[in-house]
């Protein structure tokens, strides 16, 4: 299996969205605030569906929110 990790811009995008709270984003995506915190900290890789929902909230394509880094 190729080595790598998923990085994301969720924290930056929340800031650009007027300091949207983790709880607010979680509510709109359908996960808990703790899960958003874990995603931002790189401790949890969301499912594809959740990733698409997050990107949709920010109005960005998926690849601008999540990136695969080797």
């Amino acid at each position: 299996m190729p080595e790598g990790r998923i990085s994301n811009q969720v924290r930056t995008l929340r800031f650009l969205a007027g300091e949207m709270t983790q709880a607010d984003l979680g509510r709109r995506v359908g996960v808990t605030r703790q899960t958003i915190a874990a995603i931002e900290a790189g401790k949890y890789s969301p499912t594809l569906e959740c990733a698409f929902r997050i990107a949709e909230v920010f109005g960005k394509p998926l690849e601008e929110v999540f990136r695969w880094e080797r």
Binding site: R5, I6, A23, G30, V31, T32, Q34, T35, A38, A41, G42, K43, Y44, S45, P46, T47, C50
Partner: protein, 143 residues
């Protein structure tokens, strides 16, 4: 800390303390325990299992996590994935223990040894489950 992680910590500690005390008492007082009536031995076991039940019940009742608006924190995909992984590994541990208890021990020993081995298998499986839940929340989870 999420209530599910907190519960896993309490449960892991309770398993170690209750089963630790129970098995320490059984081994240190082997002679006295062997002389006990069946009812006394069952009561001793019920005391250990009952304490675990009370601890689990109180933790679940008092440690329920709530959102800012007072509604219970829902379970989401991360919780489900952590729970699923922990359950898979715990199942293998339990299966290994039960194979020993059910398929090997009846031919080599009997009575309370089998009961205690089954209890150890369950405790080991539960410990693995709680340990992996804690690991999933603290160290992260990547499918």
């Amino acid at each position: 800390m999420l209530s599910r992680e907190r519960f896993a910590w309490v449960w892991l500690t309770a398993l170690a303390v209750v089963f630790g005390l129970y098995f320490a008492y059984i081994s240190l007082n082997a002679g006295a325990v062997a002389a006990m009536h069946m009812g006394q031995r069952i009561s001793l076991l019920a005391l250990a299992l009952g304490s675990l039940g009370v601890i689990a019940g109180l933790t679940a009742l008092l440690g329920r996590q709530r959102e800012e608006d007072g509604t219970p924190t829902p379970i989401d995909e991360r919780d489900r994935q952590i729970e699923a992984r922990a359950s898979v590994y715990a199942y293998y541990v339990l299966m290994a223990g039960i194979i020993v208890v059910g398929c090997v021990m009846p031919f080599t020993t009997g009575g309370w040894s089998i009961v205690h081995a089954a209890l150890l298998a369950i405790a080991a499986a539960e410990s693995v489950h709680s340990g992996l839940v804690i690991h999933g929340y603290r160290r992260g989870w990547h499918a």
